[in-house]
Subunit: 123 residues, 2 copies
Amino acid sequence: MTDQLSRVFAALADPTRRDMVARLTEADHTVNDLAAPYDVSLQAVSKHLKVLEEAGLVTRSREAQRRPVHLEAEVFDLMTKWIERYRRQAEARYTALDAVLARMQDEEDPTHTSDTRTEGTAS
Amino acid sequence: MTDQLSRVFAALADPTRRDMVARLTEADHTVNDLAAPYDVSLQAVSKHLKVLEEAGLVTRSREAQRRPVHLEAEVFDLMTKWIERYRRQAEARYTALDAVLARMQDEEDPTHTSDTRTEGTAS
DNA sequence: CGCGTTGTCAACCATGTGGTTGAACAAGGT
DNA sequence: ACCTTGTTCAACCACATGGTTGACAACGCG
């Protein structure tokens, strides 16, 4: 799970982390600040932040002894790009003509060489 | 990690599963079919499909001894809705005026009672 | 009927993840 | 210098995840 897209999806697969991101869209926050609403230790929150940071969703600067956390919203584009691409493609299959063509193509060429995909065979 | 949104994000955090989804946007596939390109056992692929199914990304019907896998693209909306909501909110902060207002609000009311969020405190 | 094809279930293993507590480090304020 | 505040590091634990192999269920075909 080494690529950034995977890290971003994984980071947002946790409700606590999603809530943190949600709150960070409103304003930057310190770690303590962020931790307040959750019933877990400060260290746990620190770990969550590390995950978000490694996914590129968040950056931390220094300001006195505080480490304000800032959301890097551009990373969202990475996901939306991926999602939108395949959503559009999937939707296209629902139009009658495309469905027929796809099925015909599939029978001629079962080794799906056709491609609009980016990712390799990865795991 | 019980809610669907979490399951969807988690499901797509794996490159192999993302690639499966990508291929399923082109056409339905059987399990063997899907497994072909990857260098893992059929059982491993079966497990991946279970994850995708539990996330609601995929459904399986029965057709003789085959179990064709079909993509349910509507679930993508769940993600795009979440992402777009916060992305827009985050982008809004970059407009000069909004940034100033947000900062003023932040100073008056440090207990972020403000809200546009949906999710609770969850974990 | 018996057999191959297609796919799942179960048990197991290694590694990752989210949580804990306790100690340590960093930067001011006094 | 020292205490306080803010944050991270380290060790540990329980459980989830992704992979394996082996058994077996479901179905169509000869």
